[in-house]
């Protein structure tokens, strides 16, 4: 190894791991004003998410929502991406770590490589493609995947013929820029960093290790990650579902749940629940049925754990599809049928006993393991791991490790899904920022764009780029034909195809063509502006073109995806869509974005654990916080909690938190407070708060909504009529206070899912199963002789909470499952002169009704939205979900943002969650809010309204239409005219439709621009008339 240390670099934060969590952490940190290195040991950033086909429960295309973030990272002036890089050593302490990085040799000189891929074409050494789970082939030198950032190949040292025996140097010869260097050595790099974020992610469980279910032996048994690639249009079969043995379309597929999870097995496997497999399996079922409606799906499962936001509906959606069976049974694999390579599965049900059935393909829903090399990682960073090999965390700050200055984000915490990985990333930003706030902005730089070229005197010169989106579009639409057609349209001077328009090399091509061909309009015939417009607009800016000269023609969602079975029709439609966009593009005008002032204070609504944590974090980063609580004291729902599963004494913790909040000089607390009015927008909100008889006006730039939730007041099971019937929170209080009613009880029954998972409240309250287990364990601890029964539908003790479920079962807590159609029946009775509650329920194991006489009945009452939610939602103009919880901007990638800028979300207001999760999310909201408040100003869209004075007749129609008071009549030398304040205008364009003379117009959506699209959509017909 070359021992020469290349150079000494000073940066603020090192992010280790470039999956979605590391990427989000890097972006948030960089936007907060820190200089970041983002390193990953693999050849490209993206992590596991880049291998997924779609994401649950919205079924967004995974790569499509993740890849814009790759480019955002690569373009960010304060992020340096280093792939194929690992950490060698970490010395020093928080604020001043000395880290040595090892850049592994990729045998390609990054600065010289253009990503042209010629080396791969000529490389003679075939390998199994790791990105495609070894199902398809690749070459020893290859780019990790098409949208990879950086778009630079690497050499697999085990397969390269030169590195094996020096027998081949073909790639060196064919590489025009001379970027191949097969003699590269590892490179050491020394960096001085203030804080470290560990985001190493997870590994999927490998069923080969124990030869589980014939994986690795029987060809048609695949893991869920293999299947994810099989489903994917960039996968081994280009999105056609095939099975490995004979590439036939499987017609009958079985999924086996909990592979490698929820098992105590001396030979391996994990005792915990991997938390994501139930939902991803349902996703795979839905997607497979989308591909092939006739496919028969069978899911062999234990409890179905649909505990996340919208998961219950997602589960129902999968379960209600035709030919989909959810079977609650353990299974074993029989054997491979030698005639047709089908796989037989043995399973048993209470109704039918043991059965054997043959399937074309079997998918193992494998669980999540700690990241590979977690032990060495722990050693290198001198942090502790927990018993499962994940990072040991602090239950009241799950983003902290055991070493100061080192934080974690993502699945290294334990098995979590993408939104949690993203929110912990933002939380890691907040915690780094708390530590390093004194140096924020010192090392960071602003993005510099080239000066914008003036094209006002030029004729429109339109360039059209037709994206294949891998096979997403290319498989359906004749893209060469569309590009050819585009060339025939007026004003089009250039058209080309792009394999992935959103890849870095294409961005470069677009920029090059803008210069080379003198393009002054860019039409991207690709996907949706919802995810990709910011990226492509930025590409235009990079090439000196005003971003509003960019126009998007959606030929994927609007065309290829919906008309996948009609290729000719889809191609015709794609041409029409392109024709419309080209017509519109010629009329586009350059617009200036508006810089608005940014008030650095923030309001936090709700003084529970979520609100207080986020307020403290923001205040510790140097921002002024106004905390508004409607109750007389801080604490919220946590006031009713006494202990957590992982041993936190809640009340002392809460008291300490409240004290910190009150003592913080930058936090202004208003209790008994009501928000009476909210006006303004991101950067300059004005909120009126009434407290102690006075109304105070607060000016602030951001808001965090943390209004919490409440416990449902049951109307069922004699609650409120019989004092032996309690809710779980009431039971917890009685246990904590040593109440006589609890101490004297000999038999306690718990009923789960009271008031949720049913008509009206069609969601799972997430916390109740664990809450009941927690209380059951406390009861058993105090009195091991006590009979404790839990009557449940599915025990949803996800993640590490599974261990407590097992412990409860081992301590003889009895679990009886019920179906919603056959709910337990509760009646009050006398037994031996004592009042009891008699619970009658069908026991499916015994196959008969049983009655239990209980001294106490504890109801796991649903968590329901807080009463004030609707009012707050209206005041801040944010959305609520159908269940009444607040609706985040994007379920996966913007879990603490609202669609409206400057407003953030955390805690139970978002969805029921455990205290530890609330704290994570609260830090996440703080991180997101601060990355906004750290900016110098707010940039607002240029697409706002303006008035043509000459046409305005001052009728006032626009003024009455505008809900933002953005228009007023002003006296001019030609009399009164309507004038739009661009700062207040939100660009909805309502006034346009009311103006009788067409004087007011919405820029970027003018009548002329829209007419041009309408006309271009129907040109042939027009002639016919």
């Amino acid at each position: 190894m070359d021992n020469q240390i290349a150079q000494k670099n000073f940066i603020d934060v090192l992010v280790v791991g470039g999956g979605i969590s590391g990427i989000q952490a890097a972006l948030d940190l960089a936007n907060t004003g820190f200089k970041v290195y983002l390193i990953d040991k693999s050849p490209a950033i993206g992590g596991k998410m880049s291998q997924l086909d779609k994401t649950f429960p919205s079924n967004d295309c995974s790569m499509c929502i993740e890849s814009p973030k790759f480019i955002e990272c690569s373009r960010h002036p304060n992020i340096e991406i280093m792939t194929y890089t690992e950490v060698d050593s970490v010395k020093g302490k928080a604020g001043n770590f000395n880290v040595t990085l090892v850049k592994k040799p990729r045998y390609v000189i990054e600065e010289k490589c253009t990503g042209c891929n010629i080396c791969k074409e000529y490389c003679p050494a075939k390998i199994a493609d790791p990105y495609n789970q070894n199902i398809s082939d690749n070459k020893a030198i290859h780019i990790y995947f098409s949208q990879a950032v950086p778009l630079i190949p690497y050499v697999d040292p085990d397969a390269c013929l030169f590195l094996k025996d020096g027998s081949c140097t073909i790639c060196e010869g064919v590489c025009k820029p001379n970027a191949i260097d097969l003699h590269q050595e590892p490179e050491l790099l020394n960096v001085q960093v203030g804080a470290i974020v560990l985001a190493p992610g997870f590994e999927t469980f490998d069923p080969k290790l124990r030869n589980d279910y014939g994986y690795g032996v029987i060809e048609n048994v695949v893991t869920s990650l293999d299947y994810e690639r099989i489903l994917c249009s960039t996968g081994p079969y280009e999105g056609t579902i095939r099975r490995p043995s004979d590439l036939k379309h499987p017609e009958k597929i079985a999924w086996i749940q909990c592979v490698g999870s929820r098992q105590v097995n001396p030979e391996g496997g994990n005792s915990y629940c991997s938390a994501v497999c139930c939902a991803y399996t349902q996703k795979q079922v839905i997607l497979t049925k989308d591909h092939d409606a006739g496919m028969e799906a069978t899911i062999f499962h234990n409890d179905v754990r649909a505990f996340g936001k919208d998961f219950e509906r997602f589960y129902q959606r999968a379960a209600n599809l035709p030919d989909v069976r959810f079977i609650r049974s353990y299974v074993s694999i029989g054997e491979e049928n030698p005639d047709n390579q089908n796989v037989s599965i043995r399973y048993s049900t209470f109704e039918d006993g043991v059965k054997e059935e043959e399937f074309d393909l079997v998918v193992l829903s494998v669980g999540l393991n700690p990241p590979a090399g977690a032990l060495e990682l722990a050693k290198t960073f001198d942090i502790e791991l927990n018993a499962h090999g994940f990072c040991k965390t602090n239950p009241v700050n799950p983003i902290e490790t055991t070493r100061e200055g080192i934080f974690i984000s993502g699945a290294f915490q334990g098995p979590i899904d993408i939104p949690e990985s993203v929110m912990t990333a933002s939380g890691a930003d907040a915690l780094c920022s708390q530590l390093l706030s004194y140096r924020r902005g010192e090392l960071s730089q602003d993005r510099v764009y080239p000066p914008e070229k003036d094209v006002s005197q030029e004729e429109p010169r339109v360039g059209v780029f037709v994206c294949l989106c891998g096979a997403n579009i290319g498989r359906v639409v004749d893209t060469p034909g569309v590009a050819e057609y585009a060339r025939s349209l007026g004003n089009v001077v250039y058209a080309q195809e792009s394999l992935f328009a959103c890849s870095t090399d294409n961005a470069q091509q677009v920029a090059d063509m803008i210069k080379e061909k003198g393009l002054n309009r860019v039409v991207m015939a690709a996907c949706t502006p919802r995810t990709h417009e910011p990226l492509f607009r930025d590409t235009c800016r990079e090439a000196g073109l005003n971003p509003y000269f960019y126009e998007m023609a959606n030929i994927r969602e609007h065309c290829a995806w919906v008309h996948s079975k009609d290729k000719d029709g889809a191609t015709k439609k794609a041409k029409e869509i392109v024709r419309m966009s080209v017509a519109r593009s010629a009329l586009l005008e350059p617009l200036d974005e508006i810089q608005l002032p940014l008030n650095k204070a923030a309001v936090v609504v709700g003084g529970g654990v979520a609100g207080m944590t986020t307020a403290l974090s923001m205040a510790n980063q140097g921002f002024e916080i106004y905390l508004v609580e409607k109750a007389g004291d801080l604490g919220g729902m946590a006031r009713r909690l006494y202990y957590t599963m992982d041993g936190v004494e809640v009340q002392p913790y809460l008291d300490e938190l409240v004290k910190k909040v009150y003592r913080h000089p930058a936090i202004h607390v208003a209790t008994d407070a009501v928000i009476t009015d909210v006006s303004g927008y991101v950067g300059s909100f004005v909120t009126k708060v009434q407290s102690e008889g006075r109304v105070k006006e607060i000016r602030h730039g951001a808001v965090v909504i943390a209004t919490g939730a409440r416990e449902y007041q049951p109307t069922e099971y004699l609650y409120g009529q019989n004092d032996q019937v309690l809710t779980q929170l009431e039971l917890e209080e009685k246990i904590a206070k040593g109440d006589e009613q609890v101490r004297g009880a000999q038999s306690v029954v718990m009923i789960q899912c009271v008031g949720c998972r049913e008509e009206g409240k069609n969601y799972c309250s997430r916390v109740c199963c664990s809450q009941s287990i927690k209380n059951a364990l406390k009861l058993k601890e105090a009195n091991p002789e006590m009979d404790v029964y839990v009557i449940y539908r599915d025990m949803r003790t996800y993640g590490f909470k599974e261990d407590f479920y097992r412990e409860a079962a081992n301590k003889d807590v009895k679990f009886i499952r019920y179906e919603p159609t056959d709910k337990p029946v509760v009646e009050a009775a006398m037994e031996g002169g004592q009042p009891i509650v008699r619970v009658t329920v069908t026991d499916y194991v015994l196959g008969q009704k049983i009655s239990i006489d209980a001294d106490l009945l504890a109801l796991a009452a649903a968590v329901v939205p807080s009463a004030s939610g609707q009012e707050v939602a209206k005041q801040f103009k944010v959305a609520l979900s159908p269940d009444g919880f607040f609706q985040e901007a994007h379920v996966k990638l913007r879990p603490v943002d609202f669609a409206a800028d400057g407003i953030f979300l955390c805690g139970l207001a978002h969805y029921p969650k455990h205290m530890t999760e609330t704290i994570s999310q609260a830090y996440g909201a703080a991180g997101r809010a601060i990355s906004l408040l750290s900016k110098k100003f707010i940039t607002a869209s240029g697409a706002v309204c303006e008035v043509k004075d000459d046409d305005c007749v001052a009728c006032g129609a626009c003024i009455t239409a505008c809900k933002y008071d953005a228009i007023e009549l002003q006296e001019t030398s030609y009399g009164k005219k309507a004038v739009v304040n661009p700062v207040l205008c939100k660009g909805d364009g309502l006034c346009n439709t009311k103006c009788p003379t067409g004087a007011v117009y919405l820029k970027h959506y003018t009548n002329e621009e829209i007419w041009s699209q309408i006309d271009a959509a129907l040109p042939e017909l027009e002639e016919a008339i």
């Binding site: 103009k877 919405l1002 829209i1010």
Partner: protein, 212 residues
């Protein structure tokens, strides 16, 4: 762009260019992410547009407004498939209504001239805010609004059509009635009004009406 930005003009333009159907999609009522709530305006526009279509003899079912949230991809597909099917049943615009293409074009040209007036009518006489779709439907189908539309729009529309037609060449009452598929008495009434307003004149030599 809000569904409230969908101008009556856009809808009519599309039809006049030969679109067999126009679909407008908006957020569900009460679910505006802002405070604009322009979807209520879209609803009003849709009703008004349908009234205008009725007046010129175009099947109002060719215009469809649906509320579809961002998460309702499946519903969107179902609605579009259904709309496509219904449009096929209706046949091409004009043909399905038994209108000559030239007459259809004339009618849309006439409506276009009336657009500023229609916007004023909407603002002054039809500016209502209800909570539910049913209330809007009830309002727009009430005898009062029907009368108002007939009186204000129907008459003006007829005049507008007549003047657009006469701008090409002079015609008799009977000829006008045939082209526009209107009752001769109605045409006569409109001709009288137009003549009083000085828009048209009766050319004795040709025994035809002509532009003034």
């Amino acid at each position: 762009m809000c569904s409230g930005r969908v101008d009556l003009d856009f809808v009519l333009r599309a039809f006049s260019k030969g679109a067999d159907g126009v679909f407008v999609g908006g957020c569900w009522l009460g679910e505006c992410h802002y405070v604009t709530e322009g979807n209520y305006d879209a609803l009003s526009m849709m009703h008004l547009a349908k009234k205008v279509m009725e007046q010129i003899g175009v099947n109002p079912d060719r215009l469809r407004l649906e509320w579809i949230s961002a998460s309702e991809g499946m519903r969107y597909a179902e609605v579009m498939n259904d709309f496509g099917k219904k449009l096929k049943e209706m046949g091409p615009i004009g043909e399905g209504e038994g209108l000559e293409k030239s007459a259809l074009k004339l009618k849309f040209q006439a409506v276009k001239k009336l657009l500023p007036f229609l916007k004023l009518v909407e603002r002054e006489r039809l500016r209502v805010k209800f909570k539910t779709e049913e209330e809007y439907s009830e309002f727009y189908n009430s005898p009062e609004v029907d009368g108002l539309i007939r009186e204000l729009i129907g008459e003006n529309l007829a005049i507008s059509q007549i003047t657009t037609l006469l701008a090409r060449n002079p015609l008799s009452t009977r000829e006008i009635a045939e082209v526009l598929k209107l009752a001769p008495t109605e045409v006569g009434r409109c001709l009288n009004i137009s003549a009083r307003q000085g828009l048209i004149r009766y050319d004795e030599s040709q025994k035809r009406y002509a532009m003034a």
